[in-house]
Amino acid sequence: MESNGFGAEPDAGRETPQSPTQTADEARRSLDLLKTTRHATEIEGALPLTPLWYGAALATTIAASGLYGHFEHWLWLVATITAIAVMSMHYVRTVKVHPRRSRRSVTTNLIVFFICWMVLAAWGVFTSTRADEPGFATLAFGAWLATTLALVGAIALMNRWHQHSLAR
């Protein structure tokens, strides 16, 4: 079995006798342990590991929102609702840490919201100016694919950074 780094503790439930002369080294190790565990929890709360298919689902949501009104309404609406529902269900089932509400988390959410809004606005401009041109479907698919790949790349980078941070 892999070591958990806590050393040999034959009976975890039993109180260990407290030494009145706990050394500074032991105290430093305890504080380091406290800091490491807090850090790992904050990272997990702020940036949980996200599957790559979130990228395609997010791109579908953005594209469907941008294309809504141009073609079959129900199709884009179903695509949007399905993508959001699947991602939400997955998140609820896999979330492990609910972070504390802080100014930092609000800032992070605002930045993510701003980026999504900019991508959606770009899609809106694109569909409103090019929808009547021949070959629009090909262009739209290319734009969706580019959005998907960009999001997948961003998620992969964030996951890698996340794992690297937790492994430290």
């Binding site: 407290q18 032991e26 430093r28 504080l31 342990l33 800091k35 565990t37 807090r38 492990k96 509400r101």
Partner: protein, 120 residues
């Protein structure tokens, strides 16, 4: 509390690490703590029971069947105890200087701020 200000309930590394994890979030899933600390279910349950008996944490359950989860929350009492324990550890690392002769003669010692560990 001991004379050093150390909390016996938090002196065991597993319990201290558990409190460190729980203190950094609103609530934490049981499996996250188990995986982070590489503990068995039964071992972690023992630690949580001890911390719960001390009034430092609370547990709640949500969901049914395979989606059932056990969430662990820190209480106000637990947060205060962890802060006090961290302060005591910090004092062990940076002990207060010995009182000067004038203080020993009867003058009150000058209060010294207690350094606190960085949050996070």
């Amino acid at each position: 509390m001991t004379l050093d200000g150390l909390d016996p309930s938090l002196s065991q590394p597993k319990r201290l690490a558990t409190m460190g994890i729980v203190s950094a979030a609103r609530r934490v899933d049981f499996s996250f703590i188990r995986d982070q600390l590489k503990l068995s279910d039964s071992d972690l349950s023992k630690q949580l029971k001890a911390l719960g008996d001390a009034g430092y944490i609370e547990t709640t359950k949500t969901g049914r069947g395979p989606t059932r989860k056990t969430w662990v929350l820190i209480t106000e009492r637990g947060a205060a105890a962890l802060d006090a324990h961290a302060d005591a550890l910090q004092r062990l690392i940076n002990p207060e200087p010995a009182p000067e002769p004038s203080a020993a003669a009867g003058a009150p010692p000058t209060p010294r701020p207690i350094p606190r560990p960085a949050a996070g």
